[in-house]
Symmetry: C2
Subunit: 354 residues, 2 copies
């Protein structure tokens, strides 16, 4: 494999010295970019974009051609897993993801099994390999998966949800069924991420988008527990390189101390928590990724620089910080504001790394 | 005024001894009750229900006729204030609240003024007086308002929002305009809640539904600061009775210590935080209200009792806890499950008050 020209991102995740704070943006390949919308239109529908390695590669690279980002992230969707499990993922126009066959009965759940990753999700590994070739060592490539709990919310609800009535009803009333789903999902995520690592992912991230809707007890039992199992099952070294793992429970900042014990190299932070306080709370155990409010990108470049400066100051000196937004970049953000953000991180962070 | 037959709720808010833990449910007058739906249908539309004191009284009392609740809450909507300010509130079928004239320009904001409460919101005070007469001392009546920040999100966005792009864009780019809106709203909320107290509200609650979407710094500057101003401006005693104030920032549990200093008698808790830990964190400064996940009501009565028992045990012995859900009751909950919840709180809490 080609040597990395820019390994700032990987070094920061492992708390090794860097020249400046690395930066990338969740959903950096997305609808705020006109070139993304053009490729998306050519693809026809969203899942074709995910399932065609050439197109997934194209959109993965697009933001890197615009901005001096320090990492690329595989273009895909967390729902590829339930799709591979036969739940029939589709996207109703303007309505978000839906499943033709959500998990409704105990029989549905008893039948759930780890899919054959190579045959059902081979298109993801093809995209990973192709992106690595295309990147040619510019920056590292991040692979990813949803967390078992987050995937289960979609699989039981059958769509996005605000109230999580079905999935929580099952969790409270039939916890053993919920644990069965989560166990199958955890084993699947391990195989899926290990396959991504073998195909070339140089770091992996677990998105626990809905961990924050749980009680403290249920977060530990139904979300964190399974992410911990995943950490233990992942290939942490591949071809002589350490593969860092980032874990991100959105809305879960009150549980940061337990998260820091789960075996991840870094924790994602949403924007509600002060990153300096987060650093105090986790100590030397993990690196941190985050945490600017994505809405700051609606403000002027000057205001964006100011907010970047505030977060850098709050984190303070030394490595262990990957700058990012606290959630995916919004579709109506001006790409020039994203540029101002990325450039500000590099420029303003140098004094913190001398 | 008639003497209260059941003052458990008020006593718990003031941390005075009680025989059992008082309980009520946010949105207890709501769509999960068939009798509510019947009145709502007779009213025609939602705002007519709010603006007709006889109908508002009827739905306020309905849950009390079913369950042994320890408090009634005025049936109304937090958006009565922007409606009174001339923003033209309406409810598009199945779409939530909208404003005909959201705050879009600096001129809109400069023109914003405290409305004449007596003429524009007299219907609310009429409802409060009528409910008090109808209650005849059964239980205390809670008045309420949205927090300035929460009201501002609707007024600037023009509707409900997920991303808060407009209101946060303004907050980040033109903070002085946002402060102007919040200042007018804080002064309005003070007058509005004081009018409710004079009309007969025996406790008041401030719903900061969207405080939790802010950064730590912005929560303090744009949400908590204005609630603190409100606390300082409210009539805390009326006709010889102390009027307790409950403050509830949903999703704001990381800021509990600052909330406890804001001048409220009690803090609302969503379900994510363990209430025993919350009690340790606030000490003797405030009472606590909450905090069962409303989704537990989808489980069986046995499971509901179990969860009630867990929360009671976590809070521990002594007064200072008003049992509630961590958010409004969902519309698809079986009313018999709500009954199981209310009855379990009374029955299982007695040993904690000996």
């Amino acid at each position: 494999m080609t040597e990395l020209k820019n390994d700032r991102f990987l070094r920061a995740l492992l708390k090794q010295p860097v020249d400046m704070t690395p930066v990338w943006m969740m959903r950096q390949a997305g609808r705020y970019l006109p070139e993304y919308k053009a490729t998306r239109a050519r693809a026809g529908d969203f899942m074709t974009l995910c399932k065609t390695p050439e197109l997934a590669t194209e959109v993965t690279i697009q933001p890197l051609d615009r901005f001096p980002l320090d990492a690329a992230i595989l273009f895909s969707d967390i729902l590829t897993i339930p799709d591979a499990m036969g739940l029939g993922l589709y996207f109703a126009e303007g309505e978000g993801p839906r499943f033709k066959k959500p998990l409704q009965s105990e029989a549905d759940i008893r039948q759930l099994a780890v899919p054959d990753i190579a045959s059902e999700l081979g298109y993801v590994m093809d995209a990973v390999s192709m992106i690595r070739r295309e990147l040619d060592g510019r920056v590292p490539l991040i692979g990813f998966s949803g967390s078992p709990w987050t995937l289960a919310t979609y699989m039981v609800e059958g769509s996005s949800s605000k109230e999580f009535a079905k999935v929580k009803g099952m969790m409270y009333e039939q916890p053993q069924l919920m644990h069965r789903i989560l166990d199958v999902l955890a084993r699947t995520v391990i195989e899926y991420l290990n396959a991504q690592i073998e195909a070339g992912a140089q770091a992996v991230m677990i998105f626990d988008t809905w961990g924050g809707v749980l009680t403290t007890r249920d977060y530990k039992d139904f979300s964190l527990e399974y992410m911990q199992q995943i950490m233990a099952g992942l290939k942490r070294d591949h071809e002589g390189q350490r593969i860092p793992v980032i874990m991100f429970s959105k809305g879960g900042c009150q549980w940061l101390e337990s998260q820091a014990e789960a075996g991840a190299d870094a924790l994602g932070l949403d924007w509600t928590l002060d990153i300096g306080l987060a650093r105090q709370r986790v100590g030397d155990k993990v690196a941190l990724q985050g945490n600017m409010d994505p809405c700051v990108l609606y403000a002027s470049p000057e205001r964006i620089r100011q907010e970047v400066a505030t977060i850098l100051e709050s984190y303070g000196k030394g490595s262990g910080h990957v700058f990012n937004l606290g959630h995916g970049i919004h579709q109506h953000v001006d790409p020039e504001h994203a540029r101002a953000f990325v450039e500000a991180v590099h420029e303003l962070s140098k004094p913190y790394h001398t």
